[in-house]
């Protein structure tokens, strides 16, 4: 009864695990903005102080004004140029945070995954979370940027 050997059972278990991963029940379909509908991008910058601002970039459906994606970016003025400190965005169907380094001006460290987004409603909800991640953590983000 070769089908009952330890090796066969392991093979079978791996097959079941692979099947489960590929199953539509377990698959998470991440949100993607519509590609077949006109959208427009809007850009706002809100001054926080003479040297700090938050930039809000929204992409909205042209017809219904629904927000399909956004980015909220914390910036500071360094030698007359605005540079990124931290940025939250919804690309690739996830809400995540990018961190930047003062010394290089480039991204630093791992991107922090906050949550998966599976619908337009979740993108809208994530806009509130972005406020918490950027504006409520302004000083913490700035200290992190300063030391990086």
């Amino acid at each position: 009864m070769s089908g009952n050997s330890k090796q066969d059972r392991q093979k079978s278990n791996r097959r079941i695990a692979r099947k489960a991963q590929a199953s539509p029940i377990n698959a998470v379909e991440l949100w993607e903005p519509p590609s077949d509908e006109p959208v427009r991008e809007e850009l706002y910058s809100i001054a926080i102080s003479p040297v700090d601002r938050v930039v809000v970039r929204m992409t909205r459906r042209e017809l219904t004004d629904e927000m399909v994606s956004f980015a909220v970016i914390q910036q500071t003025n360094q030698r007359t140029d605005w540079v990124n400190v931290a940025a939250v965005d919804t690309r690739h169907g996830t809400l995540h945070v990018h961190w930047y380094a003062r010394t290089t001006g480039e991204r630093t460290g791992a991107t922090e995954h906050v949550k998966n987004l599976t619908s337009e409603a979740e993108v809208n909800g994530a806009y509130d979370l972005a406020y918490e991640l950027i504006l409520e953590k302004w000083e913490q983000n700035k200290a992190r940027w300063h030391n990086a």
């Binding site: 809007e42 850009l43 706002y44 910058s45 809100i46 001054a47 926080i48 003479p50 938050v54 930039v55 809000v56 929204m58 004004d65 927000m67 809208n124 806009y127 406020y131 504006l135 302004w138 000083e139």
Partner: protein
């Protein structure tokens, strides 16, 4: 973000950016295509808004939080300056946003201004009330 009132005001503006009607009243567009917003209180110095308008590339959508919790919108735009301060320049350079708003309301919602910035440069501009 140490100033609690300003922090709350900023949150109000951030939330209201969801509202298409509110956004449509932010008509000041900077050369980079963005709409710069300044949250202001009545006791802020007007000259700081004028300076910000210069650094924004010549325009600011100012949102002034009034004592009755209403928001007053003012679009500031720089205009070509003669470099020579006008009669009211020195007084205006020291005045608060509240005083400037009172002057605008007297002028039926529009007003030219001339202020001396911290750099001693004179900045001339035009202010217009926006209905929000």
């Amino acid at each position: 973000m140490h100033d609690m009132n300003r922090e709350i005001a900023t949150k109000v503006v951030y939330d209201r950016l969801r509202d298409p009607s509110f956004r449509s009243h932010l008509t000041g567009v900077a050369p980079d295509g963005s709409k710069p917003i300044a949250v202001a209180m009545l006791d802020d110095r007007f000259v700081d808004l004028a300076a910000q308008t210069v650094s924004n590339g010549g325009v600011t959508n100012v949102l002034i939080f009034m004592d009755d919790n209403k928001i007053l919108g003012v679009t500031l735009s720089t205009i070509e300056s003669s470099g020579v301060p006008d009669d009211g320049c020195e007084a205006l350079s020291d005045c608060t946003v509240g005083v400037f708003v009172a002057r605008m309301l007297q002028d039926r919602g529009t007003s030219k201004y001339s202020v001396r910035l911290a750099s001693q440069v004179v900045s001339d501009g035009f202010a217009e009330l926006v209905s929000l």
